[in-house]
Amino acid sequence: MQNLIVSASPHQRSEMTTQKIMLRVIIALMPAVVASGIIFGVRAILLILLCASSCVVFEYLSRKLMRRSNTIYDLSAVVTGILLAMNLPPTLPFWMAIIGSFVSIVIVKQLFGGLGQNFANPAIVGRIVLMLSFTTQMTTWVKPFWYKTADLTTSPTPLSSSIEKLPSYLDLFLGTTGGCLGETCALALLIGGLYLAFTGIISLSTPVSFLGTLALLSLIGGADPLYQILSGGAMIGAFFMATDYATTPVTNKGKIIFGIGCGTITFLIRQFGSYPEGVSFSILLMNILTPYIDMLTKTKPLGAKKEARKNG
């Protein structure tokens, strides 16, 4: 009798792996990476490389220290690193970016159990911690193409109330305006986001409900809806951060609720809060609500009969 493998069915698996999913997200971020290099120069690219590599190193070291399996090859740390860098101003000191990576990977992700277990988006919390710790550096915006003219005078973000002249829709769409290095170019983000949607990595439910709610509320509240969508972190948040698997609801209904919540909170912070930008906070707050949204948006199995729930 020869040795035969015995295992439970099914005996075949799809080609999709976690690594392939993360690779596609990285590919989808490439247009925005290139755009940031064009708009904000080599320093932007260096910042992205630094964040990505430090995230991988932190992932490796923390897993090693906790005696867990090495997970750097799933590429999720690379995604977190790029996303974090996208949310930083181009002139941020490098050591601060490394602190951001540490917070994202070690504190937010690995201390909660690693990929899939974290309750909040690592890159977003990384950004928020940097924002609260180094407010000046995190809100120092240089003008686009500053590296060509060596003009270090700062330009306020288009959402700030102190701005004198509003940038045009075209500037916002192409990203030739002040802001975080990866969030300004709506065009590049849109290309990447649609790539993810068409390859089935993300569902459009979240970005559409997020941006739709933001536009609708802005319209009602008297703000320019298109301007609100194109500026700040709305695009990168809606397509890349609010679609993070681990920290957002699993069902389609849940994703729509999540998007509406993000849009609403972003609008409220932008309109009534003292911060000019509310995307990060809105996603973080909705991350916290995700388990409850999941609880309320369970699917109804085909033909299931309702069971009388027992107390206890």
Binding site: M1, Q2, L4, I5, V6, S7, A8, S9, P10, H11, Q12, R13, S14, M16, T17, T18, K20, I21, T71, D74, S76, G114, L115, G116, Q117, Y245, A246, V250, T251, D294, K298, T299, K300, P301, L302, G303, A304, K305, E307, R309, K310
Partner: protein, 425 residues
């Protein structure tokens, strides 16, 4: 009407155009006393006794049972215990074939003139669900027309698993038997309508049956989308009629019964010849099989003979059934049983190891019954029986879509089956 979830698989129906060939008679067969869902049979013959083809050699008085018959003529040489895939055991008769294939005097066409005699004849034929489930057919047919009147007979020709073409070959080679079986069932069971459901990846069969039934208004040929698991009972009932079989219900509660194509054709042939279920058409395929084929095999033939007939070499894994729901064979000396429809042999069979769940939700989008495998796995891992019940783990039919699509390669369907056991106990 909502479309049920499911997955698209490569069809790999390599044997679809191959005519069924007969396997050379094996020297000895091992006939299990438990081949269908329900009670095990007791042997009716003793060691040393001579038996003939079609002779009843095992039966049971239990309600949920079907008799077994000898597939060869020869001598009973042993009665032994056989280890089944589910870990249980059953008795098995080993019969040495004399090569003459003398047909038993018991083999005479049954007299069928009403529902009662049809049900009795179907029981005597040893029929059970040949699609793989092995539900004794006569029980299905013996529905109570007062409490659960049946208005539609569904003939399941979906055959949605990759590789398998056993039912397809039945449709292509014996379409008149399938139609005859359907008409016989409609006639004696007073069912007004039949829907023969075939996946759209079998256009030749659809065309053929449409032509043959064009003058029979009560039989409708229904092409179904090729989407796994189209052939699952609840799924095909929904696809064909839009009716939902509720938790704990039998299809008859929704006015339908579902019969497999091969079962239907077999019952029809039995009504004409009286030859009980003693052989089975198998698809033999897989990447370790050099000569894929469709082969008719006497029940009880060792799987090793089927494999060597199809020139299977260097295999690491043998499946009885398809790659999605088939059972692994641990010993190739095990015999063919009534419910087998394919023997597949694979070279590289190592499955990828699993990584952390990333909550991508692909399993939820794949589940045809709208279960939440992701939540079920977590509930099972913490042995939360209340949550498992609330998430309706008992509805899982182990189609395997969730495990198939999982990018983290987690054994979701497998855990659901373990969870079902825990919930039941």
């Amino acid at each position: 009407m909502k479309r049920l979830n499911g997955i698209h698989l490569r069809h790999l129906k390599n044997t679809q155009d191959m005519k069924t060939v007969k396997l050379p008679l094996p020297d000895r067969v091992t006939i299990l006393m438990s081949q269908n869902m329900g009670a095990e049979c007791s042997p009716l013959v003793a060691i040393g006794e001579k038996v003939t083809v079609g002779q009843k050699i095992g039966d049971s008085s239990a309600f949920m049972s079907a008799p077994v018959h000898s597939s060869v003529s020869g001598t009973v040489v042993a009665i032994k215990e056989h280890l089944l895939a589910n870990g249980g055991t059953c008795q098995a008769l080993v019969i040495e074939a004399d090569g003459k294939q003398t047909v038993s005097a018991e083999v005479v066409p049954p007299v069928i003139n009403d529902k009662e005699s049809l049900v009795a004849a179907v029981r005597q034929s040893g029929a059970c669900g040949l699609g793989g489930a092995g539900f004794p057919t006569h029980i299905k047919l013996n529905f109570d027309e007062k409490t659960t009147p049946i208005d539609t007979l569904i003939i399941n020709g979906a055959e949605c698993e990759p590789y398998i073409t056993a039912d397809y070959r039945e449709l292509m080679e014996n379409p008149a038997d399938v139609i005859g079986g359907a008409r016989m069932l409609m006639n004696f069971l007073k069912i007004p309508k039949t829907k023969i459901c075939i996946e759209s990846n079998k256009p030749a069969a659809i065309e053929k049956l449409k032509k043959m039934t064009s003058s029979i208004p009560e039989i409708e040929i229904v092409p179904l989308p090729s989407k796994y698991p189209q052939g699952a009972e609840k799924v095909i009932i929904y696809s064909a009629t839009g009716r939902i079989v509720k938790e704990g219900e039998l299809p008859s509660a929704q006015g339908v019964i579902v019969m497999n194509v091969s079962t239907t054709a077999f019952i029809f042939r039995y009504s004409k010849t009286g030859m009980p279920l003693v052989s089975k058409r198998l698809t033999v395929d897989g990447d370790a099989v050099k000569k894929p084929c469709s082969v008719e095999v006497p029940i009880g033939t060792p799987i090793s003979e089927v494999l060597s007939f199809a020139k299977a070499q260097d295999y690491e894994k043998i499946l009885a059934g398809g790659p999605m729901m088939g059972l692994c064979i641990y010993d190739t000396s095990a015999p063919i049983v009534k419910t087998n429809n394919a023997i597949l042999a694979f070279k590289k069979a190592k499955l990828p190891s699993s990584t952390a769940c990333i909550r991508c939700g692909r399993c939820i989008k794949a589940c045809p019954l709208d279960l939440m495998p992701e939540a079920l796995e977590k509930a099972f891992d913490r042995r939360d029986l209340a949550a498992l019940k609330e998430l309706k783990v008992q509805l899982c039919m182990n189609c395997g879509c969730c495990t198939y699509v999982c990018p983290a390669k987690r054994p979701l369907a497998e855990k659901n089956q373990l969870a079902k056991l825990e919930v039941r106990n």
